[in-house]
């Protein structure tokens, strides 16, 4: 192929150059790699605006809340002090796909960022099954706008402090605002607006029915009452929205808004490795293609490689810089490795990844990106070579043991275990405490009992748990109990209005309080 001339010279970017890069990269991405994307909307922003975007957790418009201010102040402080650099880009799962690019980026960085965000992340948002099922990219911006206006209206009607306190409580339970095992309906701002009034009335009526206290003709004995809820409920916010006895209709609507936003972010929380890995994998390939076509020169490709190397740097576990496994590193290593396994499989690969070895690499990576989340992706595709390259090892920190034990390393006997445990590390339902609504005392004191099922004997963080219970109480308005259950026995019991914690070591004969 005859070399073409570079798109632009020097390190300063221009709008014309961005345009040209987007077109060229888009051309390669679509024709050569079959990346299917939403239309791009690139927005050039300053550092201040980037901090703004950070603090609204990547929502283009957010409702007002002090916690976003806290986020902003913290980012600003660390940025001004030089503790952190700001991201080169921030991309939003919307249609058109909005990508914020920092004005400080050099020409090459802008090209890199366009490849990374506008084609990598963008195609992941569009293709991955979690995003397809859980979010509706074309509706999100409108929905958030609706939410923001609604909350502003509530603030005007009911006072800022009241609304703020309610949001505080909802935020505390936000992670427990998704149905892990059921798919939500896509959201639409128009529909929400239209149905909101209807829903308010209907909902209130439902709740009223539930709490009707008019005695029935024949009083049945207490234990004959049907249990409520019939099954334990994992979606606390949903349960509150539908069943909390004293919430006003507008309060239920706000609970719903927070819940909907939690749902919108749920896929992102489960695909950090894949999303970043996919975007990094593609910017790496796309930038190299640009270089091969002569659209960027040697200086440009060196600058790109330097940035790329920084992005995928993984400090060792014993380094002072270590904080966690770098999702860019792991994701990039895995996607690159899938390509390697397809193109040049070794005997080991044929044994560990028989389906992929020798296959069509483009087909294989597309399949992986579309149909997996972090946990299943690692379980399916993490090859012994990546484990060796990153020198991964598993440890077990058992409180009954005096030392931490190394349970598996990158050797023949350890690959499977490392792979499984690493997958668990990205399994939200194993990393976050499993807390469900256990029982509501319908005819008694209206108290609600939550149940935490301990996994591997890992307890709750007590200070936080007590605080969250206060928030739960703020929403439920009656007593809230939380049983932390280990081996079918209540290990600890927390109460919303009580600093004292019931501990099984003091009272080991007692079993679970209810049921």
């Amino acid at each position: 192929m005859s070399k073409r001339t570079p798109i632009a010279e020097g390190s300063e970017w221009t709008f014309a150059a961005l345009d040209a890069f987007e077109a060229e990269i888009g051309h390669i991405a679509a024709d050569k790699y079959r990346l299917d994307t939403y239309p791009n909307q690139i927005e050039i922003i300053s550092a201040d605006q980037m901090m703004d975007a950070y603090s609204s957790v990547g929502m283009p418009v957010g409702y007002h809340h002090w916690s976003f201010g806290k986020q902003f102040l913290s980012t600003e402080q660390r940025y001004r002090k030089g503790h952190i650099g700001l991201a080169y880009e921030l991309v939003i799962n919307s249609d058109p796909c909005i990508a914020y690019l920092m004005e400080e980026n050099t020409l090459i960085l802008q090209a890199l960022v366009i490849a990374h965000a506008c084609f990598g992340h963008n195609s992941f948002f569009k293709g991955n099954y979690l995003f397809r099922e859980w979010t509706d990219a074309s509706a999100i911006v409108n929905y958030i706008l609706f939410a923001r206006n609604y909350i502003t209206e509530c603030e005007e009607r009911h006072g800022m402090e009241t609304v703020e306190a309610l949001l505080d409580s909802c935020h505390a339970l936000m992670n427990l605002g998704v149905d892990r095992f059921r798919r939500p309906r896509p959201i639409s701002a128009d529909e929400e607006k239209k149905r909101q009034k209807e829903r308010e009335d209907y909902l209130q009526q439902q709740v009223n029915d539930l709490w009707r206290t008019v005695p029935k003709k024949k009083q049945e004995p207490e234990d004959k009452w049907p249990r409520f809820p019939a099954e334990p409920q994992e979606n606390l916010l949903y349960f509150i929205e539908k069943n909390a006895p004293l919430l006003e209709p507008w309060e239920r609507e706000i609970v719903r808004i927070v819940r909907k936003i939690a749902v919108y972010f749920y896929p992102q929380r489960q695909t950090k490795i894949m999303n970043e890995g996919w975007a990094t994998f593609w910017h790496y390939n796309l930038m190299n293609d640009l270089y091969e076509e002569g659209l960027i020169d040697e200086g440009g490709v060196l600058e790109f490689l330097q940035s790329h190397t920084n992005v995928i740097y993984q400090p060792d576990f014993d380094s002072p810089h270590y904080s966690d496994i770098n999702p860019y590193t792991l994701g990039f290593a895995m996607f690159s490795d899938i390509r390697r396994v397809c193109e040049n499989p070794t005997d080991e690969d044929k044994y560990f990844l028989p389906e992929q070895a020798g296959g069509d690499w483009l087909e294989t990576v597309h399949h992986a990106a579309a149909n997996y989340k972090d946990e299943s992706f690692i379980l399916q595709y993490l090859s012994p070579k990546v484990i060796r390259d990153l020198k991964l090892f598993s440890i077990l920190d058992d409180e009954s043991d005096s030392a931490i034990k190394v349970t598996a390393i990158h050797d023949e006997g350890g690959y499977s275990q490392v792979r499984e445990e690493l997958a668990d590390q990205y399994n939200l339902s194993k990393q976050e405490p499993d807390i469900q609504v256990w029982e509501v005392s319908l005819r008694g004191d209206r108290s609600i009992t939550l149940r935490h099922s301990q996994r591997d004997g890992i307890p709750l963080d007590e200070d936080d748990a007590k605080e969250v219970l206060k928030h739960m109480h703020h929403l439920w308005r009656f007593d809230v109990h939380l049983e932390s259950v280990r081996n079918e026995k209540a290990h600890r019991v927390y109460h919303c209005n009580d600093e004292k914690v019931w501990n099984d070591s003091e009272n080991s004969s007692q079993t679970t309080a209810t049921s």
């Binding site: 690139i42 050039i44 902003f72 993984q314 576990f317 440890i395 931490i404 390393i409 350890g414």
Partner: protein, 420 residues
């Protein structure tokens, strides 16, 4: 592919401003404490900048259900060097590395949330609840009074506003512009006429003379002054301040004022100065420093120049009185004064000071604050002034400051917002 690049840099710079304000509002108690603390510790030149505020992380945390320590926790880590399966590692001090990786997200074990308060916010917090006492809204004539000031020129207006100079200047420019070509023509025709010599009555000469006459007539037709040239003064209505106040800062810079005392006095004025700048944009400030003789000086000189000598306090009071009479008649100005001194005075001068204050100055001012900076017993001036508060309880206040930390509380006390 539909594709769009938007330049957002010019718009919406402070999208988070509202959230930031909400944060400050929510934690105002913490922030106020931190600000008060910072004010007492800071040096003078330092006052006009923001402040780093730290709040205990615990107080601002957003709790969620998290896994705690304990039980069997498994982790996969990168960068193995010498471990093999079955190795046992001593627990690092300060707890295990568990917690699902959540805890290490932010701030690596710091238990303070630190952020920067900008200058404006810092000053707002510093001066919260403060107000100059007895600020009477003395209105100039009527509250909607406007002053006309010149604001450029207009093409239309009433004859009385005609600006002759600008109009003629424009007319001249127009005449030059319009007449240029004709004048060039005349010039060349005259030249041609000259070249023809004295050949009378030649056909050619007649033609040129005719042309010349026509050109001269055309030149005369360019009007001296056209409607187009007229310019009128534009007058803009500017609202005049409805309240105006003047603050007199009096300070002793005599030999008896040691550097430490001067520093303290300066700090007091810095605070005062900032306070006025903050709250009363239409406030004027007069700086008077004195030793045996009083001078009105500018801000820079007031705080930073050095003078030595004896102390005659009355000179400054006299000067203030003169200035008030001349420039700040009390029917249109609220006059405030603050005097800082180490309390020493030339003995025979003190009764004079007392007289000046009670008889001449205090009736003129809204408020007079005397701050004595001394560590220990009351000084000459304090004793002199000590019964004035009884005579003018709402106009005169005096306080003693002995160390930097005293300044802010005293300052607040002096200017505490009075319940109305």
């Amino acid at each position: 592919m539909a594709f769009l690049i938007i330049d957002r840099r010019q718009q919406g710079k402070q999208k988070s401003a509202v959230n930031r304000q909400r944060f400050l509002k929510r934690f105002r108690k913490h922030i106020k404490e931190a600000v008060a603390d910072a004010v007492t510790k800071r040096s003078i030149t330092d006052m006009e900048r923001g402040e780093e505020i730290s709040i205990p992380k615990r107080d601002i945390s957003e709790p969620i259900f998290r896994q705690g320590k304990g039980g069997k926790q498994r982790r996969v880590l990168p960068g193995n060097k010498e471990f093999i399966r079955g190795d046992r590692i001593d627990r690092p001090r300060g707890g295990s590395g568990g917690g699902g990786g959540k805890a290490s997200n932010q701030g690596e074990g710091m238990d303070e949330f630190v952020f920067e308060l900008n200058q404006q916010e810092f000053l707002d917090f510093m001066f919260e609840d403060l107000e100059l006492p007895n600020l009477v809204r003395k209105q100039l004539k009527d509250s909607d009074s406007y002053k006309l000031i010149k604001g450029g020129y207009l093409r239309e207006g009433i004859p009385a506003r005609l600006n002759v100079l600008q109009s003629l200047r424009g007319a001249k420019a127009r005449r030059i512009a319009l007449g240029g070509a004709i004048r060039r023509e005349i010039k060349s025709l005259e030249q041609a006429l000259g070249e023809l010599g004295n050949d009378e009555e030649s056909e050619q000469r007649k033609e040129i003379t005719e042309k010349l006459d026509r050109a001269k007539r055309r030149l005369n037709q360019v009007p001296f002054l056209d409607d187009f040239d007229l310019r009128y003064n534009n007058m803009i209505q500017q609202p005049t301040p409805t309240t105006s106040a003047v603050m007199f800062c009096l300070m002793d810079v005599s030999g008896s004022m040691t550097q430490d005392i001067k520093d303290l006095a300066k700090r007091f004025f810095v605070l005062l100065h900032l306070f006025l700048k903050q709250h009363y944009e239409k406030t004027e400030i007069v700086f008077i420093r004195h030793h045996t003789k009083a001078d009105e000086v500018d801000e820079e000189e007031f705080f930073y120049s050095r003078e030595t000598g004896g102390t005659v306090v009355s000179t400054s009071l006299e000067l203030m009185q003169t200035i008030v009479r001349e420039r700040y008649p009390s029917d249109s100005w609220n006059v405030y004064a603050a005097q800082a001194s180490d309390g020493e005075n030339w003995q025979d001068d003190s009764p004079k000071c007392y007289d000046l204050l009670v008889k001449s100055l205090l009736p003129l001012v809204q408020f007079f604050a005397y701050v004595e900076i001394s560590s220990g017993s009351e000084q000459e001036l304090w004793q002199t002034y000590s019964d004035i508060p009884e005579v003018f309880p709402d106009r005169f206040a005096m306080r003693n400051i002995s160390e930097p930390a005293d300044i802010f509380p005293v300052f607040r006390e002096l200017f505490e917002r009075k319940a109305t």
